[in-house]
């Protein structure tokens, strides 16, 4: 059995002729909180979907907990997608029943307790819930599991700063400490304080993978400052021409 929870070798994924990931080699150990950081279109969601089995790699190999993606890896991965996956007819309780049936690590009582603390009524139909409440239900489903790997795709995108803190607090107070949290975002300043490691993705390639302490020590700056430096975009000037600096 491998020491790493996530292993990727020469991972390549393209949509038609456009590459989304180009030769990604990655190793992530257990018990870590890892930020998957990069601008929009850098391949964060593609990498997470490959780990979940929602996409198939064009070439390359990946494993979770030493196994190729399949029923076993899906049983140890808790995935928060960047969209709603509910059927209209369901109630939150129906989803809790479903998760209890399929995931041995799903804690039904914890899900109910989380609903109470988040102000969600689990007997309400999902159809009648607001977008924010549905997002809370989805967060409850993910965090009520004692998974080995949490894959959270942009959990704090599109919400106000107060809600970001609230979501991050929910994640940090409920995740399985023996598991790893892989969290994709481009809002680095909000999550930097909780990260153990950071992975910088740019145009489908890993630019940097290091611990947050190493980054601060070696670069002498915060992860956010380094991110801004690496992903700095040159402004366009009148006439659409780039100005030489």
């Amino acid at each position: 059995m491998s020491d790493f929870l996530i292993e990727c070798r020469g991972l390549y994924k393209s949509y038609g002729l456009r590459p989304a990931l180009s030769g990604v080699d990655l190793e992530v150990g257990p018990g870590r909180i890892v930020g998957l950081l990069g601008p929009n279109g850098s391949g964060k969601t593609t990498l997470i979907k490959l780990l979940c089995g929602l996409l198939q790699p064009t070439t390359g190999w990946l494993a979770i907990d030493g196994e190729a993606v399949g029923p076993y890896t899906k049983s140890v991965v808790s995935y928060l997608p960047d969209r709603m996956y509910f059927a209209d007819w369901m109630k939150a309780l129906d989803l809790f029943d479903l998760f209890r049936d399929f995931y041995a690590d799903f804690d039904y009582q914890k899900a109910l307790a989380m609903c109470r603390s988040l102000g969600v009524e689990p007997k309400d139909r999902l159809k009648s819930m607001s977008k924010g409440t549905k997002e809370k239900v989805q967060l409850v489903l993910v965090m009520a599991r004692a998974a080995k790997l949490y894959l959270l795709d942009e959990p704090i995108a599109g919400v106000d700063p107060a809600a970001r803190d609230f979501i991050l607090r929910t994640i940090l107070t409920n995740y399985n400490p023996e598991g790893t949290v892989l969290l994709s975002t481009h809002l680095i300043s909000d999550i930097e304080k909780v990260l153990d490691e950071a992975i910088f993705l740019k145009e489908g390639k890993i630019m940097l993978h290091a611990t947050v302490d190493d980054i601060r020590e070696k670069e002498g700056k915060s992860v956010d400052a380094l991110f801004r430096e690496i992903f700095k975009a040159e402004p366009m000037w009148e006439g659409g021409e780039d100005r030489a600096v």
Partner: protein, 261 residues
């Protein structure tokens, strides 16, 4: 895991169809009393008025709607449930692709059988049958005696039902494969799915045309004359073999080419 998947698929089916099935049966009962008038002499007369035609029209509309919803349900449970947003949930469950497909297929087939059964029952409810006549013991003992005398009738009925079910499974499998093929193309997936469905049936007819030569069909007809059981089982097999191939192709696409972009 298949039974757990079926539990949720059947729950979705029940949520969708309980109302329409109930409406069909209630309207059939209304029609029974709005179309037919029970006279004092135990005879039944037809009521001829505009009032009686309104519930009949509503009943026909519900029956047509039920079958249309049935077809849409089978398509949506597969396309949205496995290849749309709900696929983000279904494909992250710790199950094999074949279990997801089998669950949708069984639920789809049961839905169509349910719709057919409700139509049949509605027709029975509408008929001006006398309940006291139906509950008489001699009536049922005659039927039972006839069945004991000709038990092959039951086998023939069972084989006919199996043949109908095979045709249904083949049709659903072709729909699934067409949707899965449409999913492989980056744009205009629905259009590609429709084209794939037409293409699949053209292919199927061509294969049938080549395999089932005139001599083969003549033999089948001879067999039907000599042994009706064998001919219906052969017909079922000829429909189930391509259905199995279609479903295997669907599972392969979901296992190796899934692309929930």
């Amino acid at each position: 895991m298949l039974f757990k998947l079926l539990k949720y698929d059947f729950r979705a089916m029940w949520k969708q169809f309980s109302l329409v099935w109930g409406a069909a049966l209630v309207l059939a009962l209304v029609n029974r009393f709005s179309i037919f008038v029970d006279a004092d002499d135990r005879a039944v007369h037809l009521r001829n008025s505009f009032v009686s035609s309104v519930p009949m029209f509503a009943f026909m509309a519900v029956i047509i709607a039920m079958f249309v919803i049935g077809i849409i349900f089978v398509i949506n449970r597969f396309s949205k449930g496995l290849l749309g947003d709900e696929g983000y949930l279904m494909h992250t469950l710790p199950v094999r692709s074949w279990e997801l497909v089998a669950s949708k297929l069984i639920c789809g087939a049961v839905t169509w059988v349910g719709c057919s059964a409700v139509s049949f029952l509605s027709a029975l409810v509408m008929l001006p049958l006398n309940l006291s006549d139906l509950l008489q013991v001699p009536f049922w003992s005659d039927i039972l005696r006839a069945l004991i005398k000709h038990p092959d009738m039951l086998i023939l009925v069972a084989e006919f039902l199996l043949m109908s079910l095979s045709a249904m499974v083949q049709f659903i499998a072709a729909i699934y494969l067409a949707i899965a093929i449409g999913h492989l193309v980056p744009r205009h997936r629905k259009l590609a799915g429709v084209a794939a469905f037409i293409g699949l049936y053209i292919l199927l007819m061509n294969v049938y045309g080549r395999v089932f030569s005139a001599t083969f069909i003549q033999r089948l007809m001879d067999m039907a004359t000599a042994n009706a059981y064998g001919s219906m089982l052969t017909a079922s097999a000829t429909m189930l073999i391509p259905a199995a191939l279609f479903l295997a192709a669907v599972c392969w696409i979901l296992e190796h080419k899934l692309n929930l972009e």
